[in-house]
């Protein structure tokens, strides 16, 4: 589903990703861990198409399509979704309005036409209930005045409504209390299916207790230096990153 090969990315002439390889197959959940500043957010942002990053080398294929040739919105319409580490506030724009505009834009791209209003309302109510979000959140401006945890839940709500093929969730667990973590994890798990894939960026093993990954990767200094199964996350939790680094240099 996602194939990243030898990806080199610079920001303002500073090399951030330095030859990164990553393959994610349909049906899988991958976790990316690694120290602060390693380039985890950069990776997901580049895949989603954020401007300001220069890809100097390498390729990104999503379902065989060259992602780097596509506009941001085209990537989203193709089924890529980025869950933000820091969700953005948009004053005056209702949450439900953004959801509807996004869903319809994606449906239109698939030739499905606009969703009928009652059907949309039903869908949105159902998904907010699943995320245990009060319906009043739908009427508030996008993320405006939301607490950190509410913003993250809102990201997952969008994901549930849009049903992407590949969801890249950047530190979706940061700022969540214990109950919210379970709600978010349950939301993510409900999307797991043979046709979808999930890429989780996280610092903590506890999220992976709730969302069990198929693969765990360690990203250090712009490269994936070690990959393994879920046991690797436990090992990282216990031992930190130092040993991985030493191992990779050796």
């Amino acid at each position: 589903m996602l194939e990243v090969k030898d990806l080199h990315v610079t920001v303002e002439d500073k090399a951030i990703l330095k030859g990164l390889d990553l393959t994610v197959n349909a049906g899988e959940v991958h976790a990316i861990m690694g120290p602060n500043g390693a380039g985890k957010s950069t990776l997901s942002a580049v895949i989603a198409g954020k401007e300001g990053y220069e890809v100097t080398q390498g390729t990104i294929l999503f379902e065989g399509q060259d992602v780097l040739e596509m506009e941001i919105e085209e990537r989203a319409r193709a089924g890529l979704l980025l869950g933000f580490q820091y969700p953005i506030e948009i004053p005056g724009v209702k949450n439900i309005y953004l959801l509807k505009a996004a869903l319809n834009a994606q449906r239109e791209a698939r030739g499905e036409g606009e969703i009928p209003a009652p059907e949309f309302m039903k869908l949105v109510r159902e998904k907010s209930a699943q995320m245990q979000m009060d319906p009043s959140f739908l009427q508030r401006a996008v993320n405006e005045g939301f607490s950190g945890g509410e913003k993250k839940r809102n990201e997952i709500l969008q994901m549930l409504v849009l049903e992407p093929k590949l969801a890249m969730l950047d530190e979706i667990d940061s700022g969540l209390d214990i109950d919210a973590m379970k709600i978010v994890a349950q939301g993510v798990n409900s999307l797991r299916s043979a046709g979808r894939a999930i890429l989780l960026v996280t610092h903590y093993q506890r999220l992976l207790n709730h969302i069990e990954p198929d693969r765990v990767h360690v990203l250090v200094d712009g490269r994936i230096v070690k990959s393994g199964d879920k046991e690797l996350a436990l090992e990282l939790e216990a031992r930190g990153y130092e040993w991985v680094l030493e191992e990779s240099v050796a």
């Binding site: 990537r75 980025l82 953005i88 004053p91 005056g92 953004l98």
Partner: protein, 480 residues
Amino acid sequence: MASEEMEQLVRREYKQGFVTDIESDTVPPGLDESVIAFISQKKDEPQWMLEWRLEAYRQWLKMTPPSWAHLEYPEIDYQAISYFSAPKKPEDRPQSLDEVDPKLLETYEKLGIPLHERAALAGVAVDAVFDSVSVTTTFKEKLAEAGVIFCSISEAIREYPELVRQYLGTVVPQADNFFAALNSAVFTDGSFVYVPEGVTCPMELSTYFRINAANTGQFERTLIICDKKAQVSYLEGCTAPMRDENQLHAAVVELVALEDAYIKYSTVQNWYPGDEDGKGGIYNFVTKRGDCRGDRSRISWTQVETGSAITWKYPSCMLRGKESIGEFYSVAVTNGRQQADTGTKMVHIGENTRSTIVAKGIAAGHSDQAYRGLVKIGPRAKGARNYTQCDSLLIGDKCGAHTFPYQEIGNSSATVEHEATTSKIADDQLFYCRARGIDEEDAVSMIVNGFCKDVFQELPMEFAVEAEALLNVTLEGSVG
């Protein structure tokens, strides 16, 4: 000038003997007393009206255009303008929509203007393009039943001279400013509204009903009077881009609210801004002022401005009556090479008067805009309160927005609050929307509409929908 001299000037009798050709429909370019006499005669006006105009003209001669606004434009040659011209003859106008600029038609379509109205707006020579006669008739009957007078200012001068004489120029005096003085001398068009005591006007009054009148007024004069406990909502303009041969527009709007009266004045204006270089755009110099003359009266200005090459406009409120309320809600959008200098004045004179200012400025392209707001609290305005919020949104990095808040506080018991923000349309916000699949243009319009929400919700429902569409059309192509 000594006041004696002034009085003499004002009293000076209008000298007969001007050479005017009353048969002709147009005067040659230029302005002098004979031209004013010609206009007055054409309009069949009483003598006092002519004298009033001449007083204004004589004062105008001594005035100079304001130079403090944040605008740049070539000097206007006032002698090159023709101050009275009859509507274009049908044979001189486009004969069908095929002859009209396709770009203009495209815009009408995007704005959802009904087919049958497009021709009228584009100036096509068609008779009775839509059923305006019957609409106007039923409309007039309903108003008459309620005792509301709504007619052209010229008609009002002839039919209701006492009312006009009592109120005209009492809010915006003849010599208030350069453009108001010019308007007072030469105005030829505009609306008059009188709502009698205790009456709530049964419908929203709209200049829209005049769109098939052949000429848009270059020097419009509007006078609205709401008697005690009366209420009216007045809509000015329409969202369709209006082209006009006349580059200079200098309108005056006067509102008078007596005790417990409420006037809501909404404007959606979309004058032709000119081509990409600003050529051919309208210069719009407007004086709008409301007088809350009675206790507990209220005047509310709401405006959405997107057009003109140059806009110079400060709807204001004189809060004389105790506990009277003044409000100003504004969205100004500039794109291309447009310049706008707008704002408001809230003058608190009476006790416990309140005012609210919410101004939203959106600048895109190479445009430049300024918000200029004065809050003045007089010595007798005990307990007066003002809240001002002005926010600017920049799209791209070649445009500018400036805020100039002025405060003159003459009473220590007053409360004046001011908040201002300037933000760039955040790349982050755009990315966020696009990363959900929304295309860039829709994302911009969504963010901008969100930014303007506080003001749009003050507009009458129908207008609000039109205003949103208008905003989108105006900002088209401003990104990417």
